[in-house]
Amino acid sequence: MTNLLDVERLSKRFGSVLANQEISLSVKPGEIVALLGENGAGKSTLVKAVIGLVKPDSGTIRVKGKELPYGDTAGAIARGIGMVHQHFQLVPVMSVTENLILGDEPTKFGLIQMQKARRETAELSKRYGLAIDPDAIIEDLPVGMAQRVEILKALRRDVSLLILDEPTAVLTPQETDELLEVLRNLASKGVGILFITHKLREVMAIADRVVVLRNGKLVGVTSPKESSESQLAQMMVGREVVLHVEKGPGNPTGAALEVRELEVLDDRRLEAVRGISLQVNAGEILGIAGVEGNGQRELVEAICGMRNRRKGKVLVAGKEVPNLKPHEVHAAGVAHIPEDRERHGLVATYSISDNLVLNRFDQEPYAKGWIRDLDAVARNGDELVRRYDIRTPNASAPASSLSGGNKQKTVVARELSQNLPVVVASQPTRGVDVGSEILSLSDRVAVLYGGKIVATFDSKLANRDEIGRLMAGSEGSRS
């Protein structure tokens, strides 16, 4: 039997970032392949290359044995590849049937045959076991149902390979279970399924094979039978270069940051942080380990004023910091290296010097009253460029001219140069060429799973396997 899809040695570079590096994978008819990896691992780029939304730099894509030209979206669709995007491509004010036929309406004498279309919709939903009301208006449907419409839209075009980009990201647990059932059903009818996810539970529940990407590279192909969730977790988050960091033991002197019974909602208004309490002492590094989607982002955002806390308290050096805006939390003594440095950390078209004073441009000595002191800004820029070894010809160059690692150094320089009592770093090494290890950096490691701290270790006594197992949600030997 020929494979539905063969990708061979596919590479794609965006600027200085290698999004995909010689990645190969295949999907057979009736097979469910999970493409697993953290955000930024290159999963989306890979599938976008397959359906022609991104032109790869090298490599071949074959559909049913025949090579597909780069960037040939129409060809990919014609050969039976369908994609369900993370953000639905539906017209909210139209009915299910109208959305299904959009762009390929059954017509007679130039008029749309609505009755025929409705019958087709009903047949389609029956054939694949995807119950839906053909006349329902999309905006009235819950997210899980809207997703069904997306899937039906693909199936209507005789799809033999269905690609789903993070299909469960927007779904509730029940909707997720229903979706997994639908996918199993489709596979049993011979449809090949390639789905992107970073959730291990789904992979274990449904995949025939698992392809794991990390930093644009293929790190392994395995199956739920051959591996455990903790092994998958390690493959996803592990680093190739384990750099030993020279760092003496911390010298804790009282609580710098305290979090008490914190509860936070995520963007879907579901509970992402479920009653977390933690304490970080002065002079100590607490690492938070967890597979993406287990509440660490929401935890950090709630501490740093980027997300409202529903419940609980945050104390800095013993003083309570209420629900505030980011800069107010900063003023209360929390430096933050944001996860998304391009979005929150930097203004790309500003000079490095201006970026280095972005959160204090209106304070002495960078401004006297209303007037900015550009000389002071430039002096600060020169000094921080030297002190933090930011590789650039000069501090007046735009931040966009820096490499990823040096952009990060710029953010770090701005945040650390103020000697605030607490530093919160969110994925500080993402996309940075130096690999680092949460164990060798931290004094203690807290493991987050399902919005709760499931265990805290002294990093000297912890071992990787156990952390991996805990990150995957298995019971630890201690907590």
């Binding site: 959160n359 209106d362 007037i371």
Partner: protein, 352 residues
Amino acid sequence: MAIMQRVKLQSLSIPLLSLLIAFVVGSILIAMQGSNPLLAYQVLFTKAFGSVEGFATTLAKATPLILSGLAVAICLRAGLFNIGAQGQLISGALASAWAGYSFVGLPFLIHIPLALLFGAFFGSLVALVAGLLKAYRGVHEVITTIMLNSIVIALADYLASTPFKEPDQPITRTPKIEESARIPDIFGLPLGFFIAIAISLAFWWLMRKTTTGFRIETIGRNRSAGWYAGISVKRVIISSMLLGGATAGVAGAVETLSITGRFEPAFNAGLGFDGITVALLARANPLGVIPAAILIGGMRGAASTMQFRAGVAPEIVDLVLALILFFVTAPILLRLLKRKEEGISLSSGWSN
């Protein structure tokens, strides 16, 4: 000339290229009319820039365009597209005319600034509506400013035809302003031109040297980073709309107090819309607005002479200006298309 050195070569090349292409396409259109494009352009530019009187007319025409250009440019710097300069300008023109004829017996040193203030205030009042809607309700400023243009134009027509109408006259217009409110000429040049230059310099300084300017610029370049760094996005949106509206209002006031001498609906047609071309041609640079406005003001002022001497319809100037606008914005379109191909930003929209 430290100022000129700061104008980077790259930021000059796109406007100059746009001008060149626009004039080339314009010359084809002139030739299609059966006229000689070289003669037409020669007449146009000799009239606008070839004599002292011609140049003085050009500067007078450029004056409101510098100000309406600034009104659009300052908002562009904050990432807002203020299409409503026209409405703000008309509001300012009417208000300053009212202040010009209603207060009698004031010394000119008080009357002129007072009338200008009326213009600034009522111009900013119109823009404030759009600013508040954007800041607190997320309504896109392009939509609101376009709608406000229609509202203000209709309202001004009504006011000039009924309560503020000059008595015993069939025409829809306000009474003439008092002599004490009239902006005089100095050295044969309208004083308003120097006011416009001073405001340009003030904006350049504001953007370059002050914390307010830095806030506006930061929000314009990266709203999320600005918010994260503690800049109030709402305040920047509202204050830059206020500044833009006030400047457009002053544009209307200066035109009223130095040229038209009263408010008459037809007088201010298009001044605010030309401001959009001026601002984009100047790439939203407060100093670049000056040469851009002089060029466009010169072409506007000499259009009728071109018809008279070269037999070219004056609408050709409208066409060339539209082409300039098109080609100045085209590189932005090109960049958007390129990004789309790269697959980085597949969705971009009007909102936020």
